[in-house]
C-alpha cells in the first residue's frame, strides 16, 4: 500500500436544493474540487459515487453524474453505507489509489432528499435497520432508534435533555457561520431547543439533523503525485471500518455504538496510538451528530473521554474552538445538514480545509498545532461506522498537543 493524499475539495451549498437536479448538484462540488486541485476530468482515472437514494428519481446515480460532470468513460460504482455512505465512497477511492489501481481518483457524495414528500422520507429512513422485525411491526423512525440510546444513556449517567440541547446550540453556533450550511445564519438557544416538540421522546425536533439536499467531492492522489499538485496535501493516514447488528435488539447495551468503537480501535491502532484520552492527538474533529445523543456517544466511542464523561465535555464547553477538542466547527449534521450520501465526503472536505487552515470565517477555524484531524461517520444507528484520520504528515504517529 502507498500513501494517499487529498489534493482537491469541493462542496455544494447544503439545504432544500429544489433549484438543481441531481447532476447539477453534484457538478457544483465536482467543479470546485477540480478547480481546487487544478486538474481536469481527463486526469481522473476512477470515480466513486456515494448515494443512498430511494427518495430520489435516478436509480443509477453514478452514471447520471458521470455523464453530467464529463467523467465518462472512466469507471465508477455507486456505494451505500446508510448515513456513512460518503465515507464508504471515500474509502473505496482511497483503496483504489493505495493499491495502485488508480493514481488519481475522485469520491463524490450526493443526495437529493427533497425529491420525495417528507412522509416518504420518514418511511424510508425508518426502514434503515432490520426492516422486517423492527419496522414492519413496530414502526421505528430514525429519531426513534437514537431515542432508545438517549433514554438508556440519560438513565445510566443522569444526563438531562438540557445537556443534549447544548450540543445543538454549539453546532448551530458554528453552522450559523458556515455559508454552505443549511442553517447558515441561524443560531438557537437552549430554551428554544427544550421547547421544541418531541419527535421520538426524549428526542426533540432541535435535537435532530434536518432533511437535506447536498453534494461534496474530493480528489485523491498517490504519494508520487501529491506534492506535484499541491504544497499542502492532506494525507489519509488511517481508516477504521466496522459494522453493528441490523437488529437493535441484538445489542448488549444502549449507551454507545459498538461499531464506532471498533472502527476507532482499528483506526488508532494503525497509527500507533492508544484508544484512550485521544482528544490529545487531534486539533479538530467532525463527528456524526445526526442527533445530539450521537455526538455525545461519539466522544466516548472515540475515546476522547471515558464512557459517561462525554456529557461533561458538553457541560464544560470543551468541544468549542479553544476547548480540549473542537468538534463540528462546520455545524455538524445538525446545522450544516445531513444529505445522507454526501455527509462523509463533506467531513473529508472540512477536515482538509481545517488542516490547510483555510476555513473562513476564522471564528470556526481550529488552531492547528499537531496537524491531525479525525472524522467519525456512522451509518444507520451504528449499523456501519467509519473513522478516518487525516494528517499534514505523510509518516509518523500523532503527537500529543501542547498544553494550553
Amino acid at each position: 500500500m502507498r500513501g494517499v493524499a487529498i489534493v482537491g475539495v469541493g462542496h455544494a451549498k447544503f439545504g432544500r436544493r429544489t433549484d438543481v437536479n441531481l447532476g447539477e448538484l453534484a457538478w457544483e462540488a465536482v467543479k470546485e474540487a477540480l478547480e481546487d486541485a487544478r486538474l481536469d476530468q481527463k486526469d481522473i482515472q476512477y470515480f466513486v459515487v456515494g448515494n443512498v437514494g430511494g427518495w430520489s428519481a435516478e436509480p443509477l446515480p453514478a452514471v447520471v453524474i458521470g455523464e453530467y460532470c464529463g467523467l465518462n468513460p472512466k469507471g465508477t460504482m455507486r456505494v451505500e453505507a446508510a448515513c456513512a455512505t460518503g465515507s464508504a465512497a471515500l474509502y473505496n477511492a482511497y483503496l483504489a489509489v493505495a493499491s495502485g489501481m488508480a493514481d488519481i481518483a475522485m469520491a463524490i457524495g450526493v443526495e437529493k432528499m427533497y425529491e420525495s414528500p417528507t412522509p416518504t422520507v420518514v418511511e424510508f429512513i425508518g426502514r434503515a435497520g432490520n426492516y422486517f422485525w423492527e419496522f414492519e411491526n413496530f414502526g421505528l423512525t430514525f429519531p426513534g432508534y437514537y431515542a432508545l440510546y438517549m433514554t438508556a444513556y440519560m438513565n445510566r449517567f443522569r444526563a438531562t435533555e438540557e445537556d443534549f440541547c447544548r450540543v445543538a446550540v454549539k453546532n448551530h453556533y458554528y453552522g450559523s457561520m458556515n455559508p454552505k450550511a443549511q442553517f447558515y445564519g441561524l443560531r438557537i438557544t437552549v430554551d428554544q431547543c427544550l421547547k421544541s416538540r418531541y419527535v421520538a421522546w426524549p428526542i426533540k425536533l432541535y435535537d435532530s439533523s434536518p432533511i437535506t439536499d447536498g453534494a461534496a467531492a474530493v480528489i485523491l492522489v498517490s504519494e508520487e503525485l501529491a506534492r506535484k499538485i499541491t504544497d499542502t496535501p492532506v494525507w489519509i493516514r488511517s481508516v477504521g471500518v466496522a459494522t453493528g447488528t441490523a437488529n437493535l435488539s441484538r445489542r448488549s447495551d444502549f449507551i454507545g455504538l459498538d461499531a464506532a468503537y471498533q472502527a476507532a480501535e482499528q483506526a488508532f491502532k494503525r497509527v500507533g496510538i492508544e484508544h484512550r484520552d485521544t482528544w490529545r492527538y487531534f486539533d479538530v474533529a467532525d463527528v456524526h451528530d445526526c442527533f445530539t445523543i450521537a455526538e455525545v456517544m461519539a466522544y466516548e466511542d472515540l475515546g476522547f473521554v471515558e464512557r459517561g464523561m462525554g456529557i461533561q465535555l458538553v457541560r464544560n464547553e470543551q468541544t468549542y474552538k479553544g476547548g480540549l477538542i473542537p468538534v463540528n466547527l462546520d455545524g455538524g449534521l445538525k446545522a450544516k445538514g445531513h444529505p445522507i450520501g454526501a455527509t462523509g465526503v463533506s467531513m473529508a472536505v472540512e477536515m482538509t480545509k481545517q488542516l490547510r487552515q483555510s476555513v473562513e470565517p476564522r471564528d470556526r477555524q481550529a488552531d492547528i498545532h499537531v496537524g491531525w484531524a479525525l472524522a467519525h461517520n456512522v451509518g444507520g444507528t451504528g449499523h456501519y461506522a467509519y473513522v478516518t484520520l487525516y494528517s499534514l504528515d505523510k509518516d509518523g504517529s500523532p503527537k500529543v498537543k501542547p498544553k494550553r
Binding site: 420518514v122 411491526n137 440510546y149 433514554t151 426524549p202 428526542i203 435488539s249 441484538r250
Partner: protein
C-alpha cells in the same frame, strides 16, 4: 383516529395527482413551483408503488406459534445460542439444527421511546412506545409496550411479553405489558 391508513394514504396521493392534472391541463406541462413557491419542479407523472413479499417459509413455526398464543425463539442444538428474531441457520456452527423454544415472556426493560412523529403507514395509531427488554433467557426482544400511563414507564421495570392482535389490521404480533398487571 378517524380515517384508516389506506384512506389517509389514498387521500394524500389523490390530492397530489389532482393538483398535477390541473397544472398539466392549464399549462401543458407538469411543472409547478416547489412547496416554498421558489423554484420550478417537474412533478413525476409516473407512479412507483412498493409493497414487498418477504419469504418466511423456513421460520413459519414462529407464526404458527403466534396462532397458539406462543412466542418462539430458536436455539442451536450444537452451541446452545438463542436466536431472536428466530432464524434457522447458526452461522457460528454452520448448521441448521435448531430447537424451537417457547420464550418465558419474563423480561426487564433496557430502554424505550415514544414515537411522536410517525411514519405515514403508522399514522392511524395513537403515539406508541417502542421498548427493548432483556428476557430471562438472556436475549433481547424489541416490541411495543402497552401501558395505561406512559409517565410510569421506567428503565429496569419488569415486563411480560405476550401475543396480541394488531388492530385495526387484525394480524397477530407480540407486545410487552407491565408484569404486575
Amino acid at each position: 383516529m378517524g380515517m384508516s391508513v389506506e384512506a389517509r394514504y389514498e387521500e394524500f396521493w389523490r390530492q397530489s395527482i389532482k393538483q398535477l392534472n390541473e397544472v398539466v391541463k392549464a399549462t401543458g406541462l407538469p411543472i409547478a413551483p416547489d412547496e416554498k413557491g421558489q423554484y420550478n419542479l417537474w412533478y413525476d407523472v409516473r407512479e412507483l408503488r412498493l409493497r414487498f413479499s418477504i419469504s418466511v417459509e423456513r421460520i413459519k413455526r414462529f407464526f404458527e406459534g403466534l396462532k397458539e398464543g406462543k412466542i418462539y425463539a430458536t436455539r442451536c442444538r450444537r452451541c446452545g445460542r438463542y436466536y431472536f428474531p428466530p432464524q434457522i441457520d447458526c452461522p457460528y456452527c454452520k448448521t441448521s439444527d435448531m430447537d424451537w423454544v417457547e420464550i418465558s415472556g419474563e423480561g426487564e426493560l433496557l430502554t424505550y421511546t415514544m414515537i411522536n412523529t410517525k411514519p405515514l403507514t403508522y399514522s392511524h395509531y395513537p403515539d406508541y412506545i417502542v421498548a427493548i427488554a432483556r428476557m430471562r433467557e438472556g436475549f433481547n426482544v424489541l416490541a411495543w409496550l402497552r401501558v395505561n400511563d406512559p409517565e410510569k414507564v421506567r428503565v429496569g421495570m419488569k415486563v411480560k411479553l405476550q401475543v396480541t392482535r394488531r388492530e385495526p389490521e387484525g394480524y397477530l404480533t407480540y407486545e410487552f405489558v407491565p408484569a404486575e398487571q
